[in-house]
């Protein structure tokens, strides 16, 4: 057993912590959320300089050979800063898909560009009406001789408005396949919007979208296990982000309990609130343990173990995040429900993480089904 970060990891963590504190204060973030892009392109370049856009890729493709523990520490820091940049969409999800399923030529063309901050991508997988089920893909891919024609609709594609390319899942006779599609290709229509937590997403219509044979990512009909793996990575990353947010929320709440005075004393002197705060810290430590478990196991080649660990973590962290978010708001009184303070924004982000790629109940179901299989 070894729960320690390496020297390199600690250095990266420090770099990110300093960046968030100095260059990504809450006021900046608040303005970004209202800007046209909805995130900071300069920060994205800085991320490239830090190397975090290159983390999970092999050095042959401009990567740093990082693992999911590296991603965990990045996400925790991005969580603290409530960073709006589409890191999970581009690096974890799409980068991961290209890394795991791409041909040498595709990796060559795309991974260095991601690592360098020049290319952004979004995964267009989930569809209207399909909820969280991974295999509910009605979008079709028809072979055209020279390539494929894609038709269908995708819902809540995170990071789509900024994406240069989309990775689209579609069904042909043999099963589900993945395609690289230029976001500006004819027949691709985006309905963009902000999300409840200030990020950006889009609903997408694909109508007679023509792509070449080289757009296929991986082998035709076999994408489901690859998608499942990428979403496990994304969920592990979101859990780490949630833990970063929960820690930050505990810090601001603790500070508030010490400074806000009512009845002639700091409200932190009231035992009811002391116990609540203690419960919030307990929840966060427990969540951190599970996020660590997911980060270590998501890299495992044992698919059942990987699935089970991530499902357990998303279910568990979801419940703890709900508690910590709600209570942080509650303990701030009226100050907890205003747009001007970071508290409500942390709370909203935690809530939306809880609804992304399966909520706590969905993952509890996935985990509890494994009890039958055992």
């Amino acid at each position: 057993m070894d729960f320690n970060y390496t020297e390199e990891q600690l250095a990266l963590q420090n770099t990110l912590r300093r960046f968030i504190a100095r260059d990504y204060p809450f006021e900046h973030r608040r303005a970004l959320a209202k800007s046209a892009d909805g995130f900071d392109r300069a920060a994205w370049k800085t991320f490239a300089d830090f190397g975090i856009l290159a983390l999970p890729f092999h050095e042959d493709f401009g990567g740093l050979n990082g693992n999911a523990v590296d991603t965990m520490l990045v996400m925790e820091m991005l969580g603290r800063g409530l960073a709006l940049e589409p890191y999970v969409s581009t690096v974890v999800l799409c980068g991961g898909l290209i890394r795991d399923a791409g041909s040498a030529a595709q990796k060559e063309a795309l991974l260095p560009a991601i690592a360098g901050g020049e290319l952004m991508l979004a995964l267009a997988h989930f569809e209207p009406g399909g909820r969280y089920e991974l295999d509910r893909v009605a979008t079709t891919a028809s072979a055209t001789g020279s390539g494929w024609q894609l038709d269908g609709a995708k819902a809540v594609v995170l990071g789509a408005p900024a994406a240069d390319k989309l990775i689209v899942s579609a069904r042909d006779g043999s099963g589900i396949s993945l395609f690289l599609v230029d976001a500006k290709a004819p027949g691709v229509t985006l309905r963009t919007y902000p999300t409840q937590d200030g990020a950006r997403a889009a609903d997408i219509r694909l109508s007679k979208v023509m792509v070449g044979a080289d757009a296929l990512l991986g082998t035709a009909g076999n994408a489901l296990p690859v998608i499942e793996r990428a979403l496990d990575y994304a969920n592990a990353a979101f859990c780490a982000e949630a833990v970063g947010i929960m820690s930050a929320l505990n810090e601001v709440t603790l500070e508030y309990l010490k400074t806000r005075k009512q009845f002639g004393q700091p409200i932190g002197k009231f035992q009811a609130l002391q116990h609540r705060m203690a419960d919030m810290v307990i929840a966060t430590e427990q969540a951190r343990s599970m996020a660590t478990l997911a980060a270590v196991r998501v890299d495992s080649a044992d698919v059942a173990l990987r699935n089970r660990s991530v499902a357990a973590t998303k279910a568990y962290v979801g419940a703890q995040a709900r508690f910590v978010g709600q209570q942080a708001v509650q303990l701030h009184g009226g100050m907890g429900v205003v747009d001007e303070l970071n508290v409500a924004h942390y709370f909203k982000r935690l809530t939306m993480i809880g609804l992304t790629f399966g909520d706590a109940d969905y993952h509890l179901g996935r985990f509890s089904d494994t009890l039958l299989a055992a």
């Binding site: 989930f126 569809e127 209207p128 009406g129 399909g130 909820r131 969280y132 089920e133 609709a153 819902a155 809540v156 229509t189 985006l190 309905r191 919007y193 902000p194 999300t195 409840q196 937590d197 997403a201 609903d203 997408i204 219509r205 005075k261 009512q262 009845f263 002639g264 409200i267 009231f270 009811a272 609130l273 709600q326 708001v329 509650q330 009184g333 009226g334 907890g336 429900v337 205003v338 747009d339 001007e340 409500a344 924004h345 709370f347 909203k348 809530t351 939306m352 609804l355 992304t356 790629f357 909520d359 109940d361 509890l364 179901g365």
Partner: protein, 405 residues
């Protein structure tokens, strides 16, 4: 023991229903049921319609234009209004300041203010909380100094109120102000009625976490208030405010609205699909609905027990606090489950979809018109355990004042 409504009560319910069918404007109820933005005039218009029917203030004494209905009838009325999608009758005038004016105001105040409340002429807001005085309200600082002058004696008011709900629309604000620093803090507080048009008052919006403008800061700079606007005696304001807290029990539980929201939750769960089946067939989710329904069933009976016993002379018990705590928790759970039922389709923040008449968006299929407000409602409804005496304060009341711990 009989938990059924009597035949008369059922007839009464029918009367209320047919009134609502005939008189509640569809463009208003559609907004309420669809979670759309309501304009000031929607509230005012509904108040006028109720008033024309003689139901503008059902709980008031008949002498002031009330109905004389018993608490069970009032409860039925609340429930039917909520179910039909009537706008909430805002409590600030009808349920908060009016009972104080009736109990402690002078005849001139009663004659001037009460008719203007019941017919919807005046919009009232509540000015109790201050930045430094929330749960500990008695620490409030806003100063009112009495000045004798030839043009008429008046108070000069300086200070700040905050968290003021819908004050941006208000004609009048009722305030607790400090008129003395002698003795106990509670004994230096007075109850003042202030015309919002008085020079020196500035209303600044506070945007809430759902992006809505529902609350405000209200600043007072040398605001002149005629002494005629003092309620009762100077330095007795705390007593009047406390009278108010114990006064109103029907309604705090919000049973009617929660029943409506439960119905809506079931509708959403029947519409959303999960594994190609309606979500409501998913046992894990259905059990969550069932659990909150159990809470609501219990609260409904508790509420009826409490209001049926109203009028009996007894020492004050924990009832009002129980209704507030459970009522707010249930509202929060219902809003959370509605959002959860949508899954990731609850992520988009489409502001224009909150306006009545939004035509929908062809590119966002899979979303009902109903989905847009749900996340915002969940965020917004966190307020219910904070305001009106936070749930922690309610538990202090039960444990300290009632149980003597």
């Amino acid at each position: 023991m009989d938990l059924n409504f009597t035949a008369e009560e059922q007839l009464f319910r029918e009367d209320v229903r047919s009134f609502l069918r005939a008189k509640l404007p569809g463009e208003i109820s559609r907004k309420v049921l669809g979670g759309k933005h309501l304009a000031k005039n929607d509230f005012v218009r509904w108040q006028q319609i109720l008033h024309a029917q003689g139901w503008g203030a059902v709980a008031w004494p008949v002498a002031h234009g009330g109905t004389g209905w018993n608490p069970v009838q009032q409860h039925i009325f609340d429930e039917e209004c909520a179910d039909a999608g009537a706008p909430l009758q805002l409590p600030f005038g009808l349920k908060m300041v009016a009972p104080v004016i009736m109990a402690f105001g002078n005849p001139a105040q009663q004659q001037y203010f009460l008719p203007r409340i019941i017919d919807g002429t005046d919009w009232w807001c509540q000015g109790y909380s201050e930045p430094g005085s929330g749960s500990d309200l008695a620490s409030l600082k806003m100063r009112a100094v009495r000045v004798n002058s030839p043009e008429g004696d008046h108070y000069v008011v300086n200070g700040q109120k905050t968290w003021n709900t819908l004050g941006q629309y208000a004609d009048w604000i009722f305030c607790l102000v400090r008129t003395s620093n002698e003795g106990r803090r509670q004994e230096g507080i007075s109850f003042l009625l202030i015309d919002m048009k008085t020079p020196g008052i500035t209303v600044r919006p506070i945007i809430m976490l759902d992006g809505e403008h529902e609350i405000n800061e209200v600043w007072f700079e040398d605001v002149k208030v005629p002494v005629e606007n003092l309620i009762g005696e100077e330095n007795k304001g705390w007593t009047y405010a406390k009278f108010l807290l114990g006064h109103e029990r029907t309604g705090i539980a919000g049973v009617g609205r929660s029943k409506r929201e439960l119905k809506k939750l079931k509708e959403i769960a029947a519409k959303e699909s999960n594994h190609d089946r309606p979500l409501i067939e998913d046992q894990r989710f259905r059990d969550r609905i069932a659990q909150v329904e159990l809470e609501l069933m219990a609260l409904e009976i508790t509420n009826l027990r409490v209001i049926s016993a109203e009028g009996e002379k007894r020492a004050p018990g924990p009832e009002a606090s129980i209704l507030k705590i459970k009522g707010s928790e249930i509202q929060q759970l219902l809003s959370e489950l509605k959002m959860q039922a949508l899954g990731h389709y609850a992520l988009p923040y489409v502001e224009e979809a909150l306006d009545a008449g939004w035509p929908g968006d062809a590119l966002m299929d899979g979303y009902g018109d109903y989905s847009a407000p749900l996340s915002g409602q969940y965020f917004n409804i966190r307020k219910t355990t904070i305001y009106g005496g936070s749930n922690e304060i309610q538990k202090n009341i039960i444990s300290q004042m009632i149980l003597g711990l």
